[in-house]
Amino acid sequence: MFDDKTGADAAFVEFDRVQKSYDGETLVVKDLNLSIRKGEFLTMLGPSGSGKTTCLMMLAGFETATSGEIRLAGRPINNIPPHKRGIGMVFQNYALFPHMTVAENLAFPLEVRGIGKSEREEKVKRALDMVQMGDFAGRRPAQLSGGQQQRIALARALVFEPELVLMDEPLGALDKQLREHMQFEITRLAHELGITTVYVTHDQTEALTMSDNIAVFNDGRIQQLAPPAVLYEEPMNSFVAQFIGENNTLLGTVKEIKGDTCLVQLDHGELIDARPVNVSKPGDRTRVSIRPERVETNKARLQPGAHTLKAQVLEFIYMGDIFRTRLRVAGNDNFIVKTRNAPDQVRLQPGTEIEIGWLPQDCRALDA
């Protein structure tokens, strides 16, 4: 559909200082800058109401940007109507046409493009086989289960071979097992076909397992745009740290910064080492963040001279593969430690006093 003059690494989809307001009073999307490579699987992740759908709708052409420009393959698309954009789309409730059979649903985009009957049938068949639904061509959407409808919706969005596919929480209505299976299917298809995908979800596990890149949305802004591992291990601010995975936080003030470590005095009084991320000078308020699985309860395994904190065991939960222990640390009653269920692992008894520590690079000093 779009002649591809751009190189493999050049931006295929670009949001350039895009803003959106529905009512003329509040901005739902504030200054969005985003570029997506060809073939990239990008996920927009964020809490409900953070503007993800709005972004997607602007890209699809169902909403117009209040200001700024959206470019597709280098061309501004603000004035192209949705049906000429050639973007495949999967809706949250699938939006399969109830009065058409599965095959008719799939043939629809081909038909409106004026593709001949035999070619149409062949493409429909190929698309159905692609999602393993070849036997269901004659059924009505209402006669399919949620997962099957999902596959058909996917096939319909792909059957006309768009270069860009948008999916708005497509797995939201499925149960956990089916959701995990479909996550795998979608990523497999996206990579096999080499299509660029913009995927919207509020489920962080989904985002982490599927994406090449994740854009974390909050309050109409992208908080961080990074690959899943970077996002998880190196959150750039406390919203991202909180939103992705489980996280222990302690509030304090920066004492001194030395290269890639800094000394933080917690509000409770203790001193700890951390990696400065969002702090610039001594005296800054900070929220330090430590992942539960990076907390060390065995003093022997800590670096010599590392700062340690006193902790009181409040609760021990056996979860099979891991142990989850709740501690009181520096006045925080909700400090979680996760340990692997290994043969030599100690099971901490509630009421005991222990000392905990961590590697300085695992403890990130973020904005307060």
């Binding site: 699809a60 052409g61 169902f62 109507p81 949705p82 049906h83 000429k84 954009r85 050639g86 973007i87 495949g88 789309m89 809706f91 409730n93 939006a95 046409f97 109830p98 009065h99 629809f108 985009p109 409106v112 493009r113 319909r156 969005a157 006309f160």
Partner: protein
């Protein structure tokens, strides 16, 4: 524990078979549910089913001829109009008894009006003959009184015709005891004198119905003498001899003297009374309509006539009903289509505007419901008439000449405009309730798949709104086909519907049978259309919400 080994039927805790106790529980539930809807059920039965059943019955019912002229109808059976001869003396004899009785009971004019639908002019024949027919009775009365003066007295008649038991009761009766004991016929007298028995029974019921006098105190109807003369002429001597009671000798004496009576021609008496009785046409009509059920109303309703020579088309100038049915049908269809064309976009807006705006629009749609139908129709009169607002504006704009103002009212155009307006909400509301359930994402999905806005609408949105179209169209069409007030007010002569004709027959011409037949045909037409609709579109496809 034993459930797995038990071979008989499953049993409930109390030992009754499970099936039976389940059925009992369900029955109780059903009964309770039935009781809950009983008021509605009875209401519907009384106000809906019963009137329809009554209408269907009336459209074929024709009891009045056989009930009013029983002896005449019986005698007419053996008369063949094809011979071209007048019916014989027995028919006129029967008519003499029937018509006198009917005149005494004052029901002969009703019969006259009934037969007048079939043969105009016959009602005056019955009315005028009713006035003179007791001359026949008086003639016979004279003869009997000449035999014995006691025949003049009501008491003689009561003693002859009343049963012993009743005579006993009636003797002790006085007016302040309440109504007189109910009259009973003397078996032997009724057996020997059947016509007289029937007439006397009618006489006694009539007297007792008014309650003013004792049966024996009332002057006997002259028709009794006619009937008695006819009965005595035919009764067997044994039956006469078997008559018992105080007046037996008197009647036996009369029976002996009857053969000495001067011959009497009922036919001549009637023809003298009115020439029409001597016309074969009069008798053809009576014979034609003597059966208790008749297809005549239905035939009339489709511009046919039942004649002695079979079914024939009605005279040219009376053929109006088929034209009216046809007009009702196509105008209703046109009105339905207009409602759809106007209502569809409105319903779409209602379903898709933000709620603050759609609420306002909904009020505008419902506004007609809050205004009287008459007011709305009259408003159209003001707008559409030749000196009305629209014509004035057109003249003022110079689009039409003052001399050539458009005729927009009292014709088909007026009816179509006013009825489209009035029935519009009935199209919009079902459409709206269906469109409300179509998520806007379907249109978006279609567009994202490459469909132009029009294709998206036509291929995706429209098919899903078809159930609403079906429901709205059926509603509007059925309402339109039976509409009455609006065509009456703005339809003139060219824009009226079949319902206006039905109303005319119900309230003006009082030909209820024809009205019922027209109504039944209308009902059948609707049912047939409904059936075809079901076959073509499928009634499951109709959704009211």
């Amino acid at each position: 524990m034993s459930d797995t080994t038990q071979t008989g039927p499953m049993r409930a805790a109390d030992g009754t078979p499970l099936k039976k106790s389940l059925a009992r529980a369900l029955r109780r539930q059903k009964l309770r549910a039935l009781m809950l809807i009983a008021p509605l059920l009875i209401f519907i039965l009384v106000t809906f089913i019963a009137p329809i059943a009554d209408m269907l019955f009336r459209s074929v019912e024709n009891q009045i001829v056989a009930d009013t002229l029983p002896n005449t109808v019986r005698a007419l059976k053996s008369w063949d109009p094809e011979t071209g001869e007048l019916p014989g003396e027995p028919v006129f004899a029967g008519l003499a008894v029937d018509l006198q009785t009917a005149a005494e009971l004052k029901i002969h004019t009703k019969l006259g009006s009934r037969l007048n639908y079939e043969s105009p002019g016959i009602s005056s024949l019955f009315r005028q003959s009713g006035r003179k027919v007791d001359d026949i009775g008086k003639e016979f009365q004279k003869r009997f009184v000449a035999l014995h003066p006691a025949w003049k007295s009501g008491e003689t008649w009561a003693a002859l015709m009343g049963s012993d038991e009743w005579l006993e009761q009636a003797r002790g009766w006085s007016r302040d005891q309440g109504p007189e004991p109910r009259f009973r016929l003397r078996k032997s007298a009724a057996n020997a004198l059947p016509r007289t028995g029937e007439v006397y029974l009618a006489f006694a019921r009539d007297v007792q119905g008014t309650g003013r006098k004792a049966v024996s105190a009332e002057k006997p109807w002259p028709v009794l003498f006619t009937a008695l003369a006819q009965d005595l002429g035919q009764a067997s001597p044994e039956d006469i001899a078997a008559i018992d009671g105080p007046a037996a000798p008197l009647v036996q004496q009369a029976a002996a003297a009857i053969s000495s009576f001067e011959p009497y021609s009922y036919r001549d008496a009637f023809i003298q009374m009115d020439k029409a009785w001597g016309e074969i046409g009069t008798w053809e009509v009576i014979k034609l309509y003597s059966p208790r059920y008749t297809p005549a109303y239905f035939l009339n309703a489709v511009d046919l006539e039942l004649t002695p020579h079979g079914i024939e088309p009605a005279p040219e100038n009376e053929r109006i009903y088929l034209k009216l049915f046809w007009r009702t049908l196509w105008m209703s269809l046109l009105i339905t289509f207009c409602c759809l064309a106007l209502g569809y976009p409105v319903a779409w807006l209602l379903a898709n505007l933000p709620s603050s705006k759609s609420n306002l629009l909904m009020i505008l749609v419902l506004l007609p419901f809050w205004t009287s139908l008459l007011v709305r129709t009259s408003a159209w009169k003001i707008l559409l008439q030749q000196q009305g607002v629209i014509n004035d504006v057109l003249v003022w704009l110079g689009l039409i000449d003052d001399a050539n103002r458009l005729v927009m009212i009292n014709n088909k155009f007026g009816t179509i405009v006013a009825m489209t307006h009035i029935l519009l909400p009935f199209m919009i509301l079902p459409l709206f309730s269906v469109m409300k359930t179509i998520p806007p994402t379907y249109l978006r999905a279609a567009k994202s798949l490459g469909a132009t806005p029009w294709t998206a609408f036509w291929r995706v949105y429209f098919p899903q709104s078809v159930p609403g179209i079906g429901a709205g169209s059926i509603l509007v069409f059925i309402l339109a086909i039976g509409y009455y007030i609006t065509p009456e007010l703005v339809g003139g002569t060219q824009g009226v519907f079949i319902s206006n004709r039905i109303a005319y027959h119900i309230s003006t011409s009082l030909n209820w049978g024809l009205a019922a037949a027209l109504g039944s045909i209308l009902l059948a037409a609707v049912l047939v259309l409904y059936y075809t609709y079901d076959k073509i579109v499928g009634i499951d496809n109709v959704k009211l919400g």
